[in-house]
């Protein structure tokens, strides 16, 4: 089974602190990590390969330092990597990112499956996985929580929906996005770390990919951010005091007063 995983380097949200005075995020010295959802995608790819044989390739689009996340996933057990890096990719929205990743994925022969994390924790869009599927002309299944079986050119999965789960069978090759529930990502192995250390990552440029310039980076992105601002302060922050009975009476009065209950 030949599997590709799309990964992203993101700021570590667990390290992000809020400046209590200004209410804004303190970003100094925030380290970059593998997007947490992508770790589930990588784990699932490696586990499927261990079961069915084959090869796992991880792709990322980003600045040269994004090679770090590729090293991390190689240490976990990924076989090959592809870094798509070019200043011309900068400012890409999800449309241009999906197109660019699609070009990278098209270079891989006999691909059976592409796995992406549900979303990246910096943008939270969840749009690149489905966008990649369209660029590759492949079927897509979102929010996979379990791969039940693979065989006969098909894959049976469970996917999360609002009211429960669906069991879906999809023809391969396909693109899926996975949620946290699917597995527990493994730690990098010592052998993997050695391999990662020696890993040479040769970036592929827009020209290497044969990218159409109108489709990449800022010029290829239909959406533009026009304004970034701090959210208005949340909460009335009224503290209800007294005994538990007095506190809940005050609460019920207030909630009834604003017709919430």
């Amino acid at each position: 089974m030949n599997i590709a995983v799309c990964v992203k380097q993101v700021p570590d949200a667990s390290d992000v602190k809020i400046d209590k005075a200004t209410g804004t995020m303190v970003r100094d010295g925030v380290p970059s990590i593998l997007n947490p959802f992508d770790a589930y995608a990588v784990e699932e790819a490696i586990a499927l390969k261990e079961k069915h044989g084959g090869n796992v390739t991880a792709l990322t689009m980003g600045p040269p330092q994004a090679a770090e996340v590729l090293r991390h996933v190689v240490a976990m057990g990924v076989d090959d990597v592809m870094l798509l890096s070019d200043r011309a990719f900068a400012g890409a929205d999800t449309w241009a990112t999906s197109y660019t990743l699609g070009l990278g994925l098209k270079r891989l022969d006999n691909l059976d499956l592409v796995i992406c994390g549900k979303q990246a924790i910096d943008g939270d869009t969840a749009q690149v996985g489905p966008g990649v599927a369209v660029n590759l002309g492949l079927p897509f299944v979102a929010y996979v929580r379990k791969v039940i079986e693979v065989g006969g050119g098909k894959m049976k999965v469970e996917r999360l929906i609002e009211d429960g789960y669906e069991v879906v069978e999809v023809e391969l090759p396909a693109v899926i996005t996975v949620v946290k529930e699917i597995n527990s990502p493994r730690m990098p192995s010592l052998k993997g770390k050695m391999k990662a250390k020696k890993l040479e990552v040769a970036p592929l440029s827009a020209a290497d990919l044969g990218a159409i310039l109108e489709n990449i980076g800022l010029p290829g992105s239909p959406t533009k951010v026009v304004k970034v601002f701090s959210p208005p302060p949340k909460g009335k922050r009224e503290t209800l005091v007294g005994t538990p009975d007095e506190q809940v009476s005050a609460l019920v009065d207030r909630l009834a007063g604003i017709k919430v209950i």
């Binding site: 700021p11 040269p64 929205d93 951010v225 701090s230 922050r237």
Partner: protein, 397 residues
């Protein structure tokens, strides 16, 4: 890059460094230098007190052909098992307001067979027209068939704006549609507006776990597309006297999905549709275990709500994953959110801070959750929650 620093004007004051959401700016030799992490969001341009940072316009995306050929505002009316989702009516409420401001028509797109009554209800909810794609294969959701049907409709009728709910269906296939029709899509918006002069939809969404808000536009491509978080827009009251048109169509070609729905499994016991719940009672580490969550279930039942949980509680096995609220779980915005024994980690806040009213119950007066709460109760959840259940049952008589 599309952002330049005018070296002669820059004073090295660091205003831009502090404002940059991506940590992409450094001061080198008393001058701001924009690095590779730059996402061209323009926050620094506004932050600069001496107008030393400029965004170069020629870098912006080339406009598509004729934008004025695109008219009308569409909402996607998602149905599950033949019933239109509540978010569709929220989209109609807001869509009506925006369509009237733009002087254009409001249409709903509905897919599936046997949905005539639902189509009528959409007209009563504010639609001027319902495009009903009447095909039994659309009763079930499949990413590929839904994406091809909506893309075909967009190409045929050329709407100016397309809105959908940021539900598991909407977020799964609407990005495929935007990719196919080569236009922009903004995910999970919490606020919409319009620039009437440029007829631009102003799409505002939280980013970085809700720590910043970003307003996004799609200047050169049509339709302008966005998914909207359920629960943040107000639905209009249904008007049975409203008149509208139902345009029935059949798909261009016979729909054959490459995926097959074998089974639908609903989780027993708890209702897990927390994305659309109006009241959520959520628990964290402070609930101590499954017994604590049984208490929260009683409170949720007393309020007609559902139970949510933090990552810590889910990871401890106290509640199943579909109940997890936060960055790696679901994002919710109910009318009332009661946080019990939740400290308020940034990842949890990201999933719930757009709730209308937030109540926090925690024994630690310094817990971060109190910063986003409307009403805070400092106390032991095992005393306060039972007292609250008792009080609610009494007041119901």
């Amino acid at each position: 890059m599309g952002i330049i620093v005018k070296v002669d004007l820059c004073t090295g004051c660091e205003s831009c460094v502090n404002e940059c959401p991506f940590g992409a700016i450094e001061i080198k030799d008393d001058v701001a230098v924009i690095g590779d992490k730059c996402n061209l969001c323009g926050a620094c341009v506004e932050a600069c007190p001496v107008y030393a940072i400029e965004m170069t316009e020629e870098q912006a995306g080339a406009p598509a052909a004729d934008l004025s050929a695109y008219q009308g505002l569409w909402i996607f009316a998602e149905q599950r098992v033949g019933k239109v989702a509540p978010v569709a009516y929220e989209l109609l409420g807001e869509g009506r307001r925006l369509a009237d401001a733009l002087g254009t028509e409001l249409s709903a797109v509905l897919m599936g067979a046997g949905l005539d009554a639902e189509a009528k209800a959409l007209i009563e909810g504010g639609a001027d027209r319902v495009y009903l794609v009447d095909d039994a294969s659309l009763n079930e959701f499949h990413e590929d068939t839904y994406a091809s049907v909506l893309s075909d409709l967009i190409e045929e009728y050329k709407p100016e704006i397309v809105l959908a709910g940021a539900t598991s269906i909407g977020r799964a296939y609407i990005p495929m549609v935007a990719t196919k029709v080569r236009t922009g899509l903004t995910a999970d918006c919490t606020m919409l507006g319009v620039d009437l002069e440029k007829r631009m939809l102003l799409q505002t969404r939280p980013a970085f776990g809700g720590n910043i808000m970003a307003t996004i536009v799609c200047p050169g491509h049509r339709p302008q597309m966005a998914t909207i978080r359920p629960g943040v827009l107000k639905r209009a009251a249904a008007d049975p006297a409203r008149k509208g048109e139902v345009v029935k169509s059949v798909p261009r070609a016979r729909l054959v999905s490459k995926s097959k729905l074998l089974e639908v499994i609903e989780e027993a016991g708890h209702s897990i549709n927390i994305s659309e719940a109006e009241v959520i009672v959520a628990g964290g580490r402070g609930m101590g275990g499954e017994k604590g969550f049984a208490l929260l279930k009683d409170l949720a039942d007393a309020l007609g709500g559902v139970v949510g949980a933090t990552r810590a509680a889910v990871d401890s096995g106290w509640m199943p994953y579909p109940h997890q609220i936060g960055q790696t779980g679901r994002t919710v915005s109910p009318k009332l959110y009661i946080a019990c024994g939740i400290s308020g980690a940034i990842q949890h806040l990201a999933g719930m801070q757009s709730s209308d009213v937030i109540v926090a119950i925690n024994k630690d007066p310094n817990a971060t959750i109190f910063n986003v709460a409307d009403y805070g109760i400092v106390g032991d959840v095992f005393e306060v929650v039972p007292a609250l259940i008792k009080k609610l049952r009494e007041s119901r008589g």
